[in-house]
Subunit: 229 residues, 2 copies
Protein backbone atom coordinates (compact mmCIF):
# COMPACT_ATOMS: atom_id res chain seq x y z
CA UNK A 1 0.00 0.00 0.00
CA UNK A 2 1.23 3.46 -0.83
CA UNK A 3 0.67 6.62 1.17
CA UNK A 4 -2.46 7.30 -0.85
CA UNK A 5 -3.92 4.01 0.45
CA UNK A 6 -4.64 2.63 -2.98
CA UNK A 7 -3.79 -1.04 -3.50
CA UNK A 8 -1.02 -1.78 -5.98
CA UNK A 9 -1.48 -3.78 -9.16
CA UNK A 10 1.18 -5.09 -11.51
CA UNK A 11 -0.07 -4.99 -15.12
CA UNK A 12 1.54 -7.02 -17.89
CA UNK A 13 1.60 -4.49 -20.71
CA UNK A 14 2.44 -5.83 -24.16
CA UNK A 15 1.71 -2.66 -26.09
CA UNK A 16 -1.42 -4.26 -27.53
CA UNK A 17 -5.08 -3.41 -27.18
CA UNK A 18 -6.06 -6.07 -24.64
CA UNK A 19 -3.45 -5.42 -21.99
CA UNK A 20 -3.94 -1.65 -22.26
CA UNK A 21 -7.68 -2.13 -21.72
CA UNK A 22 -7.18 -4.46 -18.73
CA UNK A 23 -4.73 -1.95 -17.25
CA UNK A 24 -7.22 0.89 -17.62
CA UNK A 25 -9.83 -1.28 -15.88
CA UNK A 26 -7.48 -1.73 -12.90
CA UNK A 27 -6.94 2.04 -12.77
CA UNK A 28 -10.70 2.58 -12.94
CA UNK A 29 -11.07 0.15 -10.02
CA UNK A 30 -8.87 2.45 -7.97
CA UNK A 31 -5.51 0.72 -8.11
CA UNK A 32 -2.07 2.18 -8.42
CA UNK A 33 -0.64 0.32 -11.39
CA UNK A 34 2.96 -0.56 -12.21
CA UNK A 35 3.33 -1.82 -15.76
CA UNK A 36 5.78 -4.47 -16.85
CA UNK A 37 6.76 -5.25 -20.43
CA UNK A 38 9.09 -7.84 -21.89
CA UNK A 39 11.81 -7.67 -24.46
CA UNK A 40 11.90 -11.39 -25.22
CA UNK A 41 13.51 -11.27 -28.63
CA UNK A 42 10.15 -10.90 -30.32
CA UNK A 43 9.84 -10.19 -34.02
CA UNK A 44 7.51 -7.31 -33.21
CA UNK A 45 9.77 -5.62 -30.71
CA UNK A 46 8.21 -2.34 -31.73
CA UNK A 47 5.24 -3.26 -29.53
CA UNK A 48 7.49 -2.07 -26.69
CA UNK A 49 7.39 1.49 -28.04
CA UNK A 50 3.61 1.28 -27.87
CA UNK A 51 3.84 -0.08 -24.32
CA UNK A 52 5.99 2.88 -23.26
CA UNK A 53 3.59 5.33 -24.88
CA UNK A 54 0.57 3.65 -23.27
CA UNK A 55 2.19 3.56 -19.82
CA UNK A 56 2.75 7.31 -20.11
CA UNK A 57 -0.77 7.93 -21.45
CA UNK A 58 -2.30 5.95 -18.58
CA UNK A 59 -0.07 7.76 -16.10
CA UNK A 60 1.12 4.55 -14.46
CA UNK A 61 3.01 4.59 -11.20
CA UNK A 62 5.95 2.91 -12.92
CA UNK A 63 6.89 0.83 -15.92
CA UNK A 64 9.54 -1.88 -15.95
CA UNK A 65 10.94 -3.32 -19.15
CA UNK A 66 12.62 -6.66 -18.60
CA UNK A 67 14.88 -8.59 -20.93
CA UNK A 68 14.39 -12.32 -21.10
CA UNK A 69 15.65 -13.65 -24.38
CA UNK A 70 13.34 -16.51 -25.35
CA UNK A 71 14.62 -16.12 -28.91
CA UNK A 72 17.78 -17.92 -27.79
CA UNK A 73 15.91 -21.16 -28.44
CA UNK A 74 13.05 -19.92 -30.61
CA UNK A 75 10.43 -22.55 -31.22
CA UNK A 76 7.97 -19.96 -32.57
CA UNK A 77 7.62 -17.76 -35.62
CA UNK A 78 7.61 -14.80 -33.22
CA UNK A 79 11.07 -15.63 -31.87
CA UNK A 80 12.67 -17.39 -34.83
CA UNK A 81 12.97 -15.30 -37.98
CA UNK A 82 13.49 -18.48 -40.05
CA UNK A 83 9.81 -19.29 -39.50
CA UNK A 84 7.03 -17.32 -41.18
CA UNK A 85 4.05 -15.81 -39.41
CA UNK A 86 0.96 -17.52 -40.87
CA UNK A 87 -1.41 -15.38 -42.91
CA UNK A 88 -4.12 -17.90 -43.78
CA UNK A 89 -6.22 -17.27 -40.69
CA UNK A 90 -6.86 -19.37 -37.60
CA UNK A 91 -7.31 -23.12 -38.10
CA UNK A 92 -9.67 -24.39 -35.41
CA UNK A 93 -8.14 -26.88 -32.97
CA UNK A 94 -4.60 -26.19 -34.17
CA UNK A 95 -2.08 -24.18 -32.18
CA UNK A 96 -0.36 -21.86 -34.68
CA UNK A 97 3.41 -21.41 -34.85
CA UNK A 98 3.03 -17.96 -33.30
CA UNK A 99 2.64 -19.77 -29.98
CA UNK A 100 5.81 -19.01 -27.98
CA UNK A 101 6.79 -21.91 -25.71
CA UNK A 102 6.20 -21.02 -22.09
CA UNK A 103 5.77 -17.32 -22.77
CA UNK A 104 2.83 -16.49 -20.53
CA UNK A 105 4.21 -18.71 -17.78
CA UNK A 106 7.51 -16.82 -17.90
CA UNK A 107 5.80 -13.41 -18.01
CA UNK A 108 3.36 -14.10 -15.17
CA UNK A 109 6.18 -15.61 -13.08
CA UNK A 110 8.25 -12.43 -13.49
CA UNK A 111 5.13 -10.37 -12.74
CA UNK A 112 4.71 -12.42 -9.57
CA UNK A 113 8.27 -11.62 -8.55
CA UNK A 114 7.66 -7.90 -9.07
CA UNK A 115 4.31 -8.10 -7.26
CA UNK A 116 5.89 -9.73 -4.22
CA UNK A 117 8.75 -7.23 -4.12
CA UNK A 118 6.35 -4.27 -4.38
CA UNK A 119 3.68 -5.65 -2.05
CA UNK A 120 1.15 -5.64 -4.88
CA UNK A 121 -2.01 -7.64 -4.34
CA UNK A 122 -3.02 -8.09 -7.96
CA UNK A 123 -1.49 -9.02 -11.32
CA UNK A 124 -3.49 -7.67 -14.25
CA UNK A 125 -3.56 -9.72 -17.43
CA UNK A 126 -5.04 -8.87 -20.83
CA UNK A 127 -5.48 -12.56 -21.64
CA UNK A 128 -8.74 -13.53 -23.32
CA UNK A 129 -10.01 -16.93 -24.30
CA UNK A 130 -12.70 -15.98 -26.82
CA UNK A 131 -11.22 -14.37 -29.91
CA UNK A 132 -7.66 -15.61 -29.67
CA UNK A 133 -5.29 -17.98 -31.43
CA UNK A 134 -5.95 -21.06 -29.29
CA UNK A 135 -2.77 -20.79 -27.22
CA UNK A 136 -2.84 -23.20 -24.26
CA UNK A 137 -1.64 -20.49 -21.88
CA UNK A 138 -4.65 -18.23 -22.45
CA UNK A 139 -7.34 -20.49 -21.02
CA UNK A 140 -9.27 -20.04 -17.76
CA UNK A 141 -8.03 -23.43 -16.46
CA UNK A 142 -4.47 -22.32 -17.02
CA UNK A 143 -5.00 -19.14 -15.02
CA UNK A 144 -6.75 -21.03 -12.24
CA UNK A 145 -3.80 -23.39 -12.03
CA UNK A 146 -1.33 -20.48 -11.97
CA UNK A 147 -3.29 -18.93 -9.11
CA UNK A 148 -2.93 -22.18 -7.14
CA UNK A 149 0.81 -22.07 -7.83
CA UNK A 150 1.12 -18.40 -6.83
CA UNK A 151 -0.62 -19.18 -3.53
CA UNK A 152 2.07 -21.78 -2.77
CA UNK A 153 5.01 -19.97 -4.34
CA UNK A 154 4.92 -16.69 -2.50
CA UNK A 155 5.77 -15.55 0.98
CA UNK A 156 2.45 -13.72 1.21
CA UNK A 157 0.67 -16.88 0.12
CA UNK A 158 1.40 -18.39 3.52
CA UNK A 159 -1.03 -15.89 5.03
CA UNK A 160 -3.52 -16.24 2.20
CA UNK A 161 -2.39 -12.93 0.70
CA UNK A 162 -0.79 -14.08 -2.53
CA UNK A 163 -1.28 -11.66 -5.43
CA UNK A 164 -4.46 -12.40 -7.33
CA UNK A 165 -4.29 -12.97 -11.08
CA UNK A 166 -6.96 -10.74 -12.59
CA UNK A 167 -7.89 -11.25 -16.23
CA UNK A 168 -10.96 -9.07 -16.67
CA UNK A 169 -11.19 -9.73 -20.42
CA UNK A 170 -11.00 -13.52 -20.21
CA UNK A 171 -14.65 -14.08 -21.20
CA UNK A 172 -15.10 -11.04 -23.46
CA UNK A 173 -15.02 -11.31 -27.21
CA UNK A 174 -12.91 -8.89 -29.19
CA UNK A 175 -15.82 -6.57 -30.02
CA UNK A 176 -16.65 -6.28 -26.32
CA UNK A 177 -12.99 -5.58 -25.54
CA UNK A 178 -12.96 -2.79 -28.12
CA UNK A 179 -16.12 -1.34 -26.59
CA UNK A 180 -14.41 -1.35 -23.20
CA UNK A 181 -11.29 0.22 -24.72
CA UNK A 182 -13.36 2.99 -26.31
CA UNK A 183 -15.29 3.59 -23.09
CA UNK A 184 -11.99 3.89 -21.21
CA UNK A 185 -10.50 6.25 -23.80
CA UNK A 186 -7.68 3.92 -24.75
CA UNK A 187 -5.92 5.47 -27.74
CA UNK A 188 -6.46 2.40 -29.91
CA UNK A 189 -4.36 3.88 -32.69
CA UNK A 190 -1.39 3.89 -30.31
CA UNK A 191 -1.68 0.20 -29.45
CA UNK A 192 0.30 -2.36 -31.45
CA UNK A 193 -1.04 -5.86 -32.13
CA UNK A 194 0.66 -6.95 -35.36
CA UNK A 195 2.98 -9.96 -35.11
CA UNK A 196 5.13 -8.59 -37.91
CA UNK A 197 7.22 -5.74 -36.61
CA UNK A 198 7.16 -3.73 -39.80
CA UNK A 199 6.49 -0.06 -40.21
CA UNK A 200 2.75 -0.60 -40.50
CA UNK A 201 0.55 -3.47 -39.28
CA UNK A 202 0.47 -6.25 -41.89
CA UNK A 203 -3.30 -6.75 -41.71
CA UNK A 204 -2.86 -10.47 -42.44
CA UNK A 205 -1.51 -12.14 -39.30
CA UNK A 206 -3.97 -13.62 -36.81
CA UNK A 207 -3.50 -10.73 -34.46
CA UNK A 208 -4.27 -8.12 -37.17
CA UNK A 209 -7.19 -10.17 -38.50
CA UNK A 210 -8.86 -10.60 -35.12
CA UNK A 211 -8.36 -6.94 -34.32
CA UNK A 212 -9.55 -5.58 -37.66
CA UNK A 213 -12.60 -7.81 -37.88
CA UNK A 214 -13.65 -6.73 -34.40
CA UNK A 215 -13.05 -3.04 -35.12
CA UNK A 216 -15.29 -3.32 -38.16
CA UNK A 217 -17.99 -5.13 -36.21
CA UNK A 218 -17.75 -2.46 -33.52
CA UNK A 219 -18.37 0.17 -36.19
CA UNK A 220 -14.85 1.55 -35.93
CA UNK A 221 -13.34 0.46 -39.21
CA UNK A 222 -11.70 3.90 -39.20
CA UNK A 223 -9.29 2.36 -36.70
CA UNK A 224 -8.75 -0.80 -38.74
CA UNK A 225 -5.48 -1.24 -40.61
CA UNK A 226 -7.09 -3.43 -43.24
CA UNK A 227 -7.06 -0.76 -45.92
CA UNK A 228 -3.31 -0.44 -45.49
CA UNK A 229 -2.56 -3.94 -46.78
CA UNK B 1 14.81 -37.16 -29.07
CA UNK B 2 18.24 -36.91 -30.59
CA UNK B 3 19.80 -39.26 -33.11
CA UNK B 4 21.24 -41.30 -30.24
CA UNK B 5 17.70 -41.98 -29.03
CA UNK B 6 18.31 -40.67 -25.55
CA UNK B 7 15.55 -38.50 -24.09
CA UNK B 8 16.42 -34.87 -23.44
CA UNK B 9 16.41 -33.24 -20.02
CA UNK B 10 16.73 -29.58 -19.17
CA UNK B 11 18.66 -29.13 -15.91
CA UNK B 12 18.54 -25.92 -13.88
CA UNK B 13 22.18 -25.51 -12.92
CA UNK B 14 22.95 -22.90 -10.27
CA UNK B 15 26.61 -23.76 -9.84
CA UNK B 16 25.84 -25.25 -6.42
CA UNK B 17 26.15 -28.76 -5.09
CA UNK B 18 22.50 -29.78 -5.28
CA UNK B 19 21.78 -28.91 -8.89
CA UNK B 20 25.07 -30.48 -10.03
CA UNK B 21 24.14 -33.69 -8.23
CA UNK B 22 20.62 -33.76 -9.68
CA UNK B 23 22.09 -33.15 -13.14
CA UNK B 24 24.51 -36.04 -12.75
CA UNK B 25 21.59 -38.25 -11.70
CA UNK B 26 19.77 -37.39 -14.95
CA UNK B 27 22.90 -38.25 -16.93
CA UNK B 28 23.21 -41.52 -15.02
CA UNK B 29 19.57 -42.27 -15.91
CA UNK B 30 20.56 -42.05 -19.57
CA UNK B 31 19.38 -38.58 -20.54
CA UNK B 32 21.00 -36.04 -22.78
CA UNK B 33 21.11 -32.95 -20.59
CA UNK B 34 21.02 -29.28 -21.54
CA UNK B 35 21.91 -27.04 -18.61
CA UNK B 36 20.40 -23.63 -17.99
CA UNK B 37 21.72 -21.04 -15.57
CA UNK B 38 20.48 -17.59 -14.66
CA UNK B 39 22.16 -14.26 -14.30
CA UNK B 40 19.44 -12.63 -12.22
CA UNK B 41 21.48 -9.88 -10.64
CA UNK B 42 22.48 -12.11 -7.75
CA UNK B 43 25.03 -11.02 -5.18
CA UNK B 44 26.89 -14.28 -5.75
CA UNK B 45 27.12 -14.00 -9.52
CA UNK B 46 30.31 -15.99 -9.33
CA UNK B 47 28.19 -19.12 -8.96
CA UNK B 48 27.80 -18.82 -12.74
CA UNK B 49 31.52 -19.51 -13.20
CA UNK B 50 31.01 -22.70 -11.22
CA UNK B 51 27.97 -23.57 -13.36
CA UNK B 52 30.03 -23.17 -16.55
CA UNK B 53 32.82 -25.33 -15.12
CA UNK B 54 30.36 -28.00 -13.97
CA UNK B 55 28.54 -28.07 -17.31
CA UNK B 56 31.88 -28.72 -18.99
CA UNK B 57 32.91 -31.31 -16.40
CA UNK B 58 29.59 -33.17 -16.84
CA UNK B 59 29.95 -32.95 -20.60
CA UNK B 60 26.43 -31.57 -21.08
CA UNK B 61 24.84 -31.37 -24.49
CA UNK B 62 24.54 -27.61 -24.09
CA UNK B 63 24.45 -24.85 -21.53
CA UNK B 64 22.34 -21.71 -21.77
CA UNK B 65 22.94 -18.69 -19.57
CA UNK B 66 19.93 -16.41 -19.45
CA UNK B 67 19.69 -12.87 -18.13
CA UNK B 68 16.60 -11.98 -16.17
CA UNK B 69 17.32 -9.09 -13.87
CA UNK B 70 15.28 -9.67 -10.71
CA UNK B 71 17.60 -7.20 -8.96
CA UNK B 72 15.68 -4.43 -10.72
CA UNK B 73 13.18 -4.65 -7.87
CA UNK B 74 15.22 -6.55 -5.28
CA UNK B 75 13.16 -7.62 -2.30
CA UNK B 76 15.90 -9.98 -1.11
CA UNK B 77 19.37 -9.70 0.38
CA UNK B 78 20.59 -11.71 -2.63
CA UNK B 79 19.38 -9.11 -5.12
CA UNK B 80 19.57 -5.91 -3.06
CA UNK B 81 23.04 -5.02 -1.80
CA UNK B 82 21.51 -2.66 0.78
CA UNK B 83 20.29 -5.71 2.69
CA UNK B 84 22.68 -8.00 4.58
CA UNK B 85 22.82 -11.75 4.22
CA UNK B 86 21.98 -13.16 7.69
CA UNK B 87 24.72 -15.01 9.53
CA UNK B 88 22.89 -16.07 12.67
CA UNK B 89 21.65 -19.37 11.29
CA UNK B 90 18.19 -20.51 10.26
CA UNK B 91 15.27 -19.45 12.47
CA UNK B 92 12.61 -22.15 12.30
CA UNK B 93 9.31 -21.08 10.76
CA UNK B 94 10.76 -17.84 9.45
CA UNK B 95 11.52 -17.21 5.79
CA UNK B 96 14.92 -15.45 5.70
CA UNK B 97 15.63 -12.36 3.63
CA UNK B 98 17.67 -14.50 1.22
CA UNK B 99 14.35 -15.62 -0.23
CA UNK B 100 14.12 -14.05 -3.70
CA UNK B 101 10.51 -13.23 -4.66
CA UNK B 102 9.28 -15.57 -7.35
CA UNK B 103 12.74 -16.87 -8.20
CA UNK B 104 12.06 -20.57 -8.62
CA UNK B 105 8.80 -19.82 -10.43
CA UNK B 106 10.67 -17.63 -12.91
CA UNK B 107 13.49 -20.16 -13.36
CA UNK B 108 11.24 -23.19 -13.83
CA UNK B 109 9.03 -21.21 -16.23
CA UNK B 110 12.05 -20.34 -18.38
CA UNK B 111 13.19 -23.98 -18.14
CA UNK B 112 9.74 -24.98 -19.36
CA UNK B 113 10.10 -22.67 -22.35
CA UNK B 114 13.47 -24.22 -23.22
CA UNK B 115 12.11 -27.75 -22.67
CA UNK B 116 9.21 -27.16 -25.05
CA UNK B 117 11.45 -25.62 -27.70
CA UNK B 118 13.92 -28.53 -27.49
CA UNK B 119 11.35 -31.30 -27.18
CA UNK B 120 12.71 -32.23 -23.75
CA UNK B 121 10.55 -34.45 -21.61
CA UNK B 122 12.05 -33.62 -18.23
CA UNK B 123 13.15 -30.60 -16.21
CA UNK B 124 15.73 -31.49 -13.57
CA UNK B 125 15.70 -29.52 -10.33
CA UNK B 126 18.14 -29.60 -7.42
CA UNK B 127 15.45 -28.40 -5.03
CA UNK B 128 15.33 -30.10 -1.66
CA UNK B 129 12.91 -29.63 1.19
CA UNK B 130 14.90 -31.14 4.06
CA UNK B 131 18.00 -29.11 4.85
CA UNK B 132 17.04 -25.80 3.31
CA UNK B 133 16.13 -22.28 4.33
CA UNK B 134 12.35 -22.71 4.44
CA UNK B 135 11.66 -21.03 1.10
CA UNK B 136 8.05 -21.53 -0.01
CA UNK B 137 9.14 -22.42 -3.54
CA UNK B 138 11.16 -25.47 -2.47
CA UNK B 139 8.31 -27.59 -1.12
CA UNK B 140 6.83 -30.76 -2.66
CA UNK B 141 3.37 -29.14 -2.82
CA UNK B 142 4.82 -26.25 -4.80
CA UNK B 143 6.39 -28.61 -7.33
CA UNK B 144 3.20 -30.65 -7.61
CA UNK B 145 1.29 -27.46 -8.34
CA UNK B 146 3.86 -26.37 -10.94
CA UNK B 147 3.51 -29.75 -12.65
CA UNK B 148 -0.25 -29.22 -12.89
CA UNK B 149 0.43 -25.80 -14.44
CA UNK B 150 3.00 -27.19 -16.89
CA UNK B 151 0.47 -29.78 -18.04
CA UNK B 152 -1.95 -26.99 -18.93
CA UNK B 153 0.59 -24.42 -20.15
CA UNK B 154 2.36 -26.39 -22.82
CA UNK B 155 1.51 -27.52 -26.31
CA UNK B 156 2.74 -31.04 -25.48
CA UNK B 157 0.55 -31.04 -22.39
CA UNK B 158 -2.52 -31.33 -24.62
CA UNK B 159 -1.37 -34.85 -25.49
CA UNK B 160 -0.31 -35.63 -21.92
CA UNK B 161 3.37 -35.15 -22.84
CA UNK B 162 4.23 -32.04 -20.85
CA UNK B 163 7.78 -32.03 -19.51
CA UNK B 164 7.98 -33.66 -16.09
CA UNK B 165 9.51 -31.74 -13.21
CA UNK B 166 12.04 -34.10 -11.62
CA UNK B 167 13.50 -33.15 -8.25
CA UNK B 168 15.39 -36.29 -7.21
CA UNK B 169 16.82 -34.66 -4.06
CA UNK B 170 13.54 -33.34 -2.71
CA UNK B 171 13.36 -35.80 0.20
CA UNK B 172 17.09 -36.25 0.82
CA UNK B 173 18.88 -34.49 3.61
CA UNK B 174 22.13 -32.68 2.90
CA UNK B 175 24.33 -35.55 4.07
CA UNK B 176 22.55 -37.91 1.70
CA UNK B 177 22.96 -35.39 -1.13
CA UNK B 178 26.68 -35.20 -0.45
CA UNK B 179 26.89 -38.99 -0.49
CA UNK B 180 25.18 -38.98 -3.89
CA UNK B 181 27.51 -36.23 -5.11
CA UNK B 182 30.57 -38.23 -4.01
CA UNK B 183 29.22 -41.40 -5.59
CA UNK B 184 28.67 -39.53 -8.86
CA UNK B 185 32.15 -37.97 -8.76
CA UNK B 186 30.86 -34.42 -8.59
CA UNK B 187 33.86 -32.16 -8.01
CA UNK B 188 32.42 -30.68 -4.82
CA UNK B 189 35.29 -28.22 -4.54
CA UNK B 190 34.22 -26.73 -7.87
CA UNK B 191 30.61 -26.12 -6.78
CA UNK B 192 29.66 -22.76 -5.29
CA UNK B 193 26.99 -22.43 -2.59
CA UNK B 194 27.92 -19.28 -0.67
CA UNK B 195 25.39 -16.43 -0.83
CA UNK B 196 28.17 -13.88 -0.52
CA UNK B 197 30.01 -13.62 -3.79
CA UNK B 198 33.40 -12.97 -2.27
CA UNK B 199 36.69 -14.60 -3.16
CA UNK B 200 36.15 -17.45 -0.72
CA UNK B 201 32.94 -18.86 0.78
CA UNK B 202 31.98 -16.89 3.90
CA UNK B 203 31.22 -19.97 5.99
CA UNK B 204 28.51 -18.06 7.88
CA UNK B 205 25.53 -17.70 5.57
CA UNK B 206 22.78 -20.34 5.70
CA UNK B 207 24.00 -21.91 2.50
CA UNK B 208 27.59 -22.27 3.78
CA UNK B 209 26.40 -23.49 7.19
CA UNK B 210 24.12 -26.18 5.79
CA UNK B 211 26.81 -27.33 3.38
CA UNK B 212 29.66 -27.35 5.88
CA UNK B 213 27.70 -29.09 8.62
CA UNK B 214 26.69 -31.82 6.19
CA UNK B 215 30.22 -32.22 4.83
CA UNK B 216 31.48 -32.71 8.36
CA UNK B 217 28.73 -35.22 9.16
CA UNK B 218 29.56 -37.05 5.93
CA UNK B 219 33.18 -37.32 7.10
CA UNK B 220 34.43 -34.92 4.45
CA UNK B 221 35.34 -31.90 6.52
CA UNK B 222 38.34 -31.64 4.18
CA UNK B 223 35.85 -30.14 1.68
CA UNK B 224 34.32 -27.78 4.25
CA UNK B 225 35.14 -24.08 4.10
CA UNK B 226 34.57 -23.63 7.82
CA UNK B 227 38.25 -23.29 8.65
CA UNK B 228 38.55 -20.40 6.25
CA UNK B 229 36.33 -18.10 8.27
Amino acid sequence: MLANNKPISIALLSGGLDSATATAMALEAGHNVIGISFDYGQRHKRELEAAIELAAHLNLLGHEIINVNLAKWGGSSLTDLQQSVPTQGIIKGKIPNTYVPGRNTVFIAIGLSLAEAKGANQIVLGINAMDYSGYPDCRPDYLKSFQALANLASKAGREGNAPKLWAPLIHLNKVEIIQEALRLNIPIDKTWSCYNGLEKPCGLCDSCRIRNEALEKAGRSDLSTREEI
